[in-house]
């Protein structure tokens, strides 16, 4: 059944998005985002610095946020919806070798009229050990 705002129920859990992160994935994101910060790309530089992730280079926070956003775009885009707000905090670095599962649950419905109604989806991303690496909220307008 096509998604529409009136039929959305609070508490709906959206399908997870699972992404395996390795050095190639981080490299590809660097090219796609133009973010060539050595914290992501240069393990030798990173080993010398007192920065999150210990001696390992780390994945881009924007990449993790993109994974969380995709949980919502997968759900709303086929129905003509769009993501309108993303609020994210990164709480643990993503390391090469991590498997990141992004999850979302609908927690709010906002009634602003046709074409402006939106939902809030609480999202988080966790690694293969069940440790949360990012949390946030994504708002989406749903027809």
């Amino acid at each position: 059944m096509a998604l529409d705002f009136n039929s959305v129920e609070l508490g709906t859990k959206l399908p997870d998005v699972v992404r395996k992160v390795n050095h190639d994935v981080i490299d590809r994101f660097a090219v796609g985002s133009f973010d060539y910060n050595p914290i992501h790309l240069d393990p030798e530089w990173k080993k010398k610095m007192n920065l999150p992730g210990g001696k390992s280079n780390i994945g881009h926070g924007q990449m993790t946020m993109s994974f969380m956003a995709s949980v919502v775009t997968d759900w709303v885009c086929p129905a003509g919806g769009m993501v309108s707000k993303i609020d994210a905090k990164y709480i643990k670095p993503v390391l090469p070798g991590d498997v990141i599962t992004s999850c979302g649950t609908v927690t709010e419905k906002h009634f602003h009229g046709a074409g402006k109604n939106f939902v809030v989806v609480e999202v988080f991303a966790q690694n293969q050990n069940g440790e949360k690496v990012a949390v946030g909220e994504v708002e989406a307008i749903i027809p």
Partner: protein, 185 residues
């Protein structure tokens, strides 16, 4: 070109021309002590959105959504063409940001603990985006030095497409930043 191993992922004209040396002219960047709140800047570089840019970003985030990847599919939707993944502003932001004040996102040693982003209208093919920046807050918490700023992404018609408030943890002093630069040489 730095990081030659990345060449295999380069697909767009912008990617081919972009300088990957993150610390180039880094001595011109601002540290936390030097940032003045409320100062406004406009990035010198504009971003003309092409289909290849939208597709390259969706591939970089491993999102096969046809709305971001398949022009024929997207033409039949209400959008009438490709739209960008909602986090596409990241690519525009890094591409447009130059050297010197307002280039906080490239300050050596800076990293990103979170952000708020409002998307008013998806980026689409043909948009020519101007990036405006303004420092909005800086604070100290648990020994770390935070900077928050506003980025406005405005199209060629003056329409605000996205507004965001990235937060960064940045080097406190110039001496601290120079340690990060020296380690990269």
């Amino acid at each position: 070109m730095k990081y030659e191993r990345l060449d295999k992922y380069v697909t767009t004209e912008k990617q081919k021309k972009f300088d990957r040396d993150f610390f180039k002219n880094a001595e011109q960047y601002e540290v936390w002590d030097e940032v003045k709140i409320g100062e406004e800047y406009e990035a010198a570089q504009k971003f003309e959105v092409k289909a290849e840019d939208i597709k390259a970003f969706s591939q970089a985030v491993m999102d096969p959504n046809p709305l971001f990847n398949d022009e024929e599919y997207a033409k039949k939707t209400k959008w009438g063409g490709l739209i960008a993944h909602p986090v596409f502003y990241t690519a525009i932001g890094f591409y447009c940001t130059g050297v010197g004040p307002s280039n906080w996102i490239r300050t050596p040693g800076a990293y990103n603990p979170g952000q708020l982003n409002i998307i008013y209208d998806p980026f689409r093919v043909g948009d020519i985006i101007t990036l405006k920046l303004k420092s909005t807050d800086k604070w100290i918490k648990r020994g770390k030095y935070y900077l928050q700023y506003q980025q406005d992404f405005i199209d060629q018609f003056g329409k605000l497409k996205t507004r965001r408030w990235p937060t960064l943890i940045v080097p406190h002093t110039r001496a601290e930043m120079e340690k990060f630069i020296a380690a990269g040489k």
